[in-house]
Symmetry: C2
Subunit: 120 residues, 2 copies
């Protein structure tokens, strides 16, 4: 269960971008990012809020999870990547996954934070 | 999108407890905790790994999400609660939700961490 949890809280995302309001576009983006990072998806769930149209999505990974929430009304999104070291050190893959996810949003500001997980 | 993200990384959880290996037991526990904390679930997804039988689960909330991963083979679990301040200050509800979730696991050790989210 030891692993790395990375977050990115984004502002200045173009609110009309499909990722901000279209759960299918966000799903494709997340699953492509998981594949590119060399991680393994085992399930996924995306939900669109009726008003004001933001999307919440999660992908369950063999190595833990990712989560995305969008707020098109303020051009904001939050990203979470928690990747445990299941079969070796996955820190590089966690960073790759976050970078892939973030690149799609075109944010002008980002707050990045990190937690070491599972060291209790 | 501003809110509070709380994590608890647990050790010393009895590995034979239903929450550690039974996705339906974990689902009921999570949804009850969400209701008790006064938050609103909008979707949920639980997955059991074939070997060694850990469970991953997420509940999407109107106010963001919770995520749980269990590792019965080491008596461990990790909990995430991210609750944004959708209709007022939900910090108390975030803490309540984490406490409710954690109480079910009977851990002997816990590492708690917190992030302020969405301030980019």
């Amino acid at each position: 269960m030891h692993g790395l949890h990375l977050t990115a809280d984004l502002r200045g995302c173009p609110p009309a971008a499909p990722l901000m309001t279209d759960p299918e576009a966000l799903r494709r983006h997340c699953l492509q990012a998981v594949r590119t990072a060399g991680l393994q998806a085992v399930g996924e769930l995306f939900y669109r809020f009726a008003s004001p149209g933001g999307v919440t999505g999660v992908v369950l990974l063999a190595e833990s999870h990712l989560a995305v929430h969008t707020w098109p009304e303020i051009g904001g999104a939050t990203l979470d990547v928690y990747v445990c070291n299941l079969h070796g050190d996955n820190r590089g893959r966690a960073a790759d996954l976050l970078a892939q996810l973030e690149a799609g949003f075109g944010a002008t500001q980002a707050l990045h934070q990190r937690l070491e997980r599972g060291t209790a």
